[in-house]
């Protein structure tokens, strides 16, 4: 349809989507901590594969792969830099252990990207807004967040209309070098900004008319409640942390190079 199609959020229902966003966030942080805890490749591989059931359950494989592909460039960069530094510092010697170490560092990064992408791919913006509200974030911020998400498709549509209108008047967006192309977008941006400001005024008016700021003690139509699934995820999170800490302190992890 339009170039901004990727910006629209869609409502998807799956066991993972229905989980409480707060618990999911705690889970992501736990994975984050565990990934930092280890520098060996085997536990990091385990962490990496542990996310896959979540992705499959949430049926977001395609988007997930896309986000991994997005991280590929940085991952390659991390790998190359790691190999290169060990290569130069260890007297121009390329050992299997060094390469493995570099791979582990890269994998650590990939695990971080992976877990965050699972979180954002499976948490709807209204859930996130609600979680913000219930985490005692001032309501103004939570409101600003959900409203921003709400107006993304609206503004995207408007940008498309303005682009079409300007093209109809002879504006050539795809012409010239990089700088020229950026400059080409000025006649699109200015009307877009002007109309966004006008829109915000109308919004403010509508908010005022619906008792915005009437009381400090605001109530909420929805309430985030913890369900069975949430407790299960919480248990899994605690389990992962416990195992990770135990392994870190009491088990010596072999490298793949030494196993071969």
């Amino acid at each position: 349809m339009s170039v901004f199609d990727g910006l629209r959020f869609r409502k998807v229902y799956s066991p993972i989507h229905n989980l409480d966003p707060r618990i999911k966030f705690v889970y992501v942080i736990a994975i984050f901590v565990v990934a930092i805890l280890f520098y060996q490749i085997i536990p990091l591989l385990v962490l990496f594969f542990m996310q896959i059931p979540f992705v499959l359950l949430a049926r977001v494989q395609r988007q997930w792969l896309r986000s991994l592909r997005g991280a590929a460039f940085l991952a390659t960069f991390i790998f190359v830099v790691n190999v290169a530094t060990t290569y130069f510092t260890s007297g121009y010697l390329l050992t299997a252990a060094n390469v493995e170490n570099a791979a582990a560092m890269t994998l650590r990064f990939v695990v971080l990207v992976e877990s965050f992408s699972v979180f954002f791919l499976t948490t709807s913006p209204d859930h996130l807004g609600l979680a913000l509200e219930e985490s005692r974030v001032p309501y103004e911020f939570a409101f600003a967040f959900t409203t921003a998400v709400r107006f993304v498709p609206v503004l995207a549509e408007e940008a498309q209309t303005i682009m079409d209108a300007q093209k109809a008047r002879g504006l050539e967006l795809e012409k010239g070098g990089l700088l020229k192309r950026i400059r080409n977008y000025v006649p699109v941006l200015i009307p877009l900004i002007v109309s966004a400001i006008r829109r915000s005024l109308e919004l403010a008016e509508a908010m005022e008319s619906r008792a915005w700021g009437a009381t400090k003690k605001r109530t909420n139509l929805y309430l985030l409640k913890l369900h069975k699934g949430d407790y299960a995820l919480l248990a899994i999170t605690v389990g992962i942390l416990a195992v990770a800490v135990y392994v870190h302190f009491f088990v010596s992890i072999p490298t793949i190079a030494s196993l071969l």
Partner: protein
């Protein structure tokens, strides 16, 4: 006692050289269906903003004269206090919905006033049912049509259970069929719930039949107020630029040619059809 009463209301927007409304004195009784019309820029929208205190609290500027809405002086009370009494529905449905689901939007006002969750649920469901959008309550605003969005906007002011609903050209973004549905919703709320309705509209073809109190504005002033049948048949009204219903125009043309269809000026095609049938049927 009148539910809305203004006396010599004059208002100038900050920075404007001339006032947007001049000496407006109107009276609206409880339970009435009032239609306000007039050419663009005649001050209709400004007058609507006076009813819930957006003028002067939100827009600043200078307001002279007296205004009382539901017995409250809007000059002395904030817009959020007025929200419980007056619901304002705006022209562009898109810019009055801010939440990611429809029912959350309908609940917005109630959340702001701090109504308890159980009570809120009840009121929200009632408002959704009244406007016929209960089935789409979990969708997000950009997934539904303009007509549905406007019904959400109506539901969201309705949930506050106001005595008055003011609608400022609610159908100018909609196609005729969606517009008619909106008018039917409003009319039903007026008849069944006894809510006082103030409708600002250009499309008199579709709306004139609902009202018995018409206000015609021009250049910030109230030019005519009263019985729509009388006002719409006068030549002056047409010259101001009011869109006289086609049925009324045809009636007048026929009358000029000597075909008298009775004393009652028709406001809708249905009324005219009835009169024609009666005149043509052989007695």
């Amino acid at each position: 006692m009148a539910i809305i009463e203004t006396k010599n209301l004059t208002y100038t927007y900050p920075g404007a050289t001339k006032p947007s409304i001049v000496d407006v004195s109107i009276k609206v009784e409880k339970g009435e269906f009032v239609l306000i019309t007039g050419p663009s820029g005649c001050g209709k929208t400004t007058l609507c903003r006076c009813f819930n205190g957006l003028v002067p609290h939100f827009y600043q500027g200078e307001l002279k004269g007296e205004i009382s809405v539901s017995g409250i002086d809007t000059l002395k009370h904030h817009t959020y206090e007025m929200a419980k009494h007056v619901g304002l529905v705006f022209q562009n449905p898109e810019n009055q919905l801010f939440a990611l689901s429809i029912e959350k939007d309908v609940a917005f006002g109630l959340e702001n006033v701090g109504v308890s969750r159980e009570e809120m649920r009840k009121k929200v469901d009632w408002a959704l049912n009244q406007t016929g959008i209960y089935d789409i309550r979990e969708r997000s605003p950009h997934e539904i049509s303009g007509g549905q969005q406007q019904r959400v906007a109506i539901a969201s002011v309705l949930a506050m259970e106001p005595e008055i609903i003011v609608l400022d050209e609610p159908t100018s973004f909609l196609d005729p069929l969606s517009a008619e549905k909106i008018f039917e919703v409003i009319y039903r709320l007026n008849k069944e719930q006894g809510i006082t309705v103030i409708l600002v509209e250009h499309r008199l073809d579709l709306t004139a039949k609902y009202t018995d109190h018409l206000i015609v504005m021009d250049e910030g002033k109230v030019r005519f107020e009263g019985d729509p049948r009388q006002i719409l048949s006068s030549e002056e009204t047409r010259l101001i630029g009011v869109g006289i219903p086609k049925a009324t125009l045809l009636y007048q043309m026929l009358k000029k040619e000597g075909l008298n269809l009775g004393d009652k000026t028709p406001l809708s095609s249905e009324e005219l059809a009835d009169q024609l049938l009666e005149a043509l049927s052989p007695q």
